[in-house]
C-alpha cells in the first residue's frame, strides 16, 4: 500500500473527501432539522489543507468566540470530529430547544451546556454513522466534550495532534445555516493521515 501524504493528495482524493463531508454533514443537518423542526441548509463541503500557523484563521479568526464540541474517533478510522457553533447561534439553538424566547442571550446554564453536548452528540453521531455505513469501516466516537472559548484555543487541540506528524492540517468542513433564526455552525472531520488511506481504499479509490 502506497503511503499517502497531505501534499500528494490529488483532485480525485479531495473530491472523495468532500463527498464524505457531503454525506456526513447531510445526515447531521437532517438530524438537526428534525430536532428544531425547521429547515436547515447546508453549504458545499470544503476540504481545507492549512499550515499550522494559519489554522486559527478559520471559524472567523483566532479570537472569535465559539462553542466547540469535540470528540475523538477511534476504531478503523482515527481522528477527531468537531461541531462548532458561533456563540450567538449556540444561544439561539438552546433557546429553540428549551422553548424559550429566542433572542434571550445570557450566560449558558448547566442545563444549556448539557443540551449543547447532547446536540453535539446526536449530530456528530449521525455524521459518523453515515460515514461508517458508506465505508463499511467501524467508527467509534468518544463522549463529547464542550468548550466555550476562542476559536484558536479550541482548534489548538486537533492542531496539536496533527503537529505530531507534520506541519499541515486537513479538515473537512461543512457549514450549515438555519435561515429564520440564523443558527450557523460547522461540522469538521479531522481524520488522521493513515485514516484517509483507509477511507479512500474502502471506497475503491486508488492511492
Amino acid at each position: 500500500m502506497a503511503n499517502i501524504d497531505i501534499d500528494t493528495l490529488n483532485t480525485l482524493h479531495l473530491d472523495v473527501l468532500k463527498e464524505i463531508g457531503n454525506i456526513g454533514a447531510g445526515n447531521a443537518t437532517t438530524a438537526l432539522a428534525k430536532l428544531l423542526n425547521k429547515k436547515v441548509d447546508m453549504g458545499v463541503p470544503k476540504v481545507n489543507i492549512l499550515e499550522l500557523k494559519n489554522v486559527a484563521d478559520i471559524l472567523g479568526g483566532a479570537e472569535n468566540l465559539v462553542v466547540g464540541i469535540l470528540l475523538s474517533v477511534s476504531g478503523e478510522v482515527n481522528g477527531m470530529m468537531m461541531f462548532v457553533l458561533e456563540q450567538k447561534s449556540a444561544h439561539i439553538l438552546v433557546n429553540i430547544l428549551m422553548g424559550r424566547e429566542i433572542n434571550n442571550i445570557s450566560e449558558f446554564t448547566e442545563m444549556d451546556i448539557s443540551a449543547l453536548k447532547e446536540i453535539g452528540n446526536i449530530l456528530t453521531s449521525s455524521y459518523l454513522s453515515s460515514l461508517s455505513a458508506l465505508t463499511n469501516l467501524n467508527i467509534v466516537p468518544s463522549i463529547p466534550q464542550m468548550a466555550f472559548d476562542m476559536a484558536g484555543a479550541i482548534l489548538s487541540v486537533p492542531a496539536i495532534e496533527f503537529g505530531k506528524i507534520g506541519d499541515k492540517v486537513l479538515l473537512i468542513e461543512t457549514e450549515f445555516i438555519e435561515g429564520i433564526d440564523h443558527v450557523m455552525g460547522y461540522f469538521i472531520l479531522i481524520p488522521e493521515i493513515n485514516s484517509f488511506e483507509k477511507i479512500l481504499l474502502s471506497l475503491g479509490v486508488n492511492i
Binding site: 484558536g152 505530531k164 506541519d167
Partner: protein, 164 residues
C-alpha cells in the same frame, strides 16, 4: 510614539522577535504555550507559540518553531543576533490550558502541562529566569508582549485581562 509601533503577529507553531516600540502578539493560545523573552536594556523581545514539548520525540521536526526546546533556542539566538545579551534575557510563560477534559487519554499529563514543563526545562537549562507566568486552567489566552517594558498582557474570555 504610539503611532509608529507595529503589532507583529505570531501564528501557531511560529515565532518572531521585535525591537522597541513594536508589540508581539499571539492569538488564542489553547494547550499551546507562549514563550515570551525580553532583554530590558536593549528592549528586544521575542515570542514563540509552541505546540509540542520536545523535538527529539517527533520524527518530522523540521519546523523548529513548533517545539518548546528548539523554538526557545532559536528565539534566544535571533534576539542575540540583533543585539540582546543572553545574561539579561528574562522569560514569561502563558497558555498550556487543557481545553477539553478527556478522561480516556493515556498520557499521564495533559499536553498543555507537558508543554509548560518543557518550556520551564529549556529555560532552566539556558539559565533564563521565568519572572512571571499564567498557565494551565481550561481557557484560551491571547497575549501581547510590549517591548517598551517587557509587560505581557493576557486577554481571556470570561477570565479577565491581566498584566504579568
Amino acid at each position: 510614539m504610539m503611532g509608529s509601533r507595529e503589532i507583529i503577529k505570531v501564528g501557531m507553531a511560529d515565532l518572531n522577535i521585535a525591537k522597541y516600540p513594536n508589540i508581539l502578539t499571539t492569538l488564542g493560545l489553547g494547550s499551546c504555550v507562549g514563550i515570551a523573552l525580553y532583554d530590558p536594556i536593549t528592549k528586544i523581545g521575542g515570542l514563540a507559540h509552541i505546540m509540542l514539548p520536545d523535538s527529539t520525540q517527533i520524527k518530522n521536526n523540521s519546523n523548529i518553531a513548533k517545539f518548546a526546546d528548539t523554538a526557545t533556542l532559536k528565539l534566544v539566538k535571533d534576539m542575540i543576533d540583533i543585539g540582546a545579551k543572553k545574561d539579561r534575557i528574562v522569560a514569561k510563560l502563558a497558555g498550556g490550558a487543557q481545553m477539553f477534559s478527556f478522561s480516556s487519554s493515556n498520557d499521564l499529563m495533559s499536553i498543555g502541562e507537558r508543554n509548560i514543563l518543557a518550556a520551564q526545562n529549556i529555560l532552566a537549562k539556558l539559565n533564563i529566569p521565568i519572572v512571571a507566568s499564567d498557565t494551565g486552567e481550561n481557557y484560551g489566552r491571547t497575549i501581547e508582549l510590549y517591548t517598551e517594558n517587557g509587560e505581557l498582557l493576557i486577554k481571556t474570555i470570561g477570565h479577565g485581562i491581566k498584566k504579568i
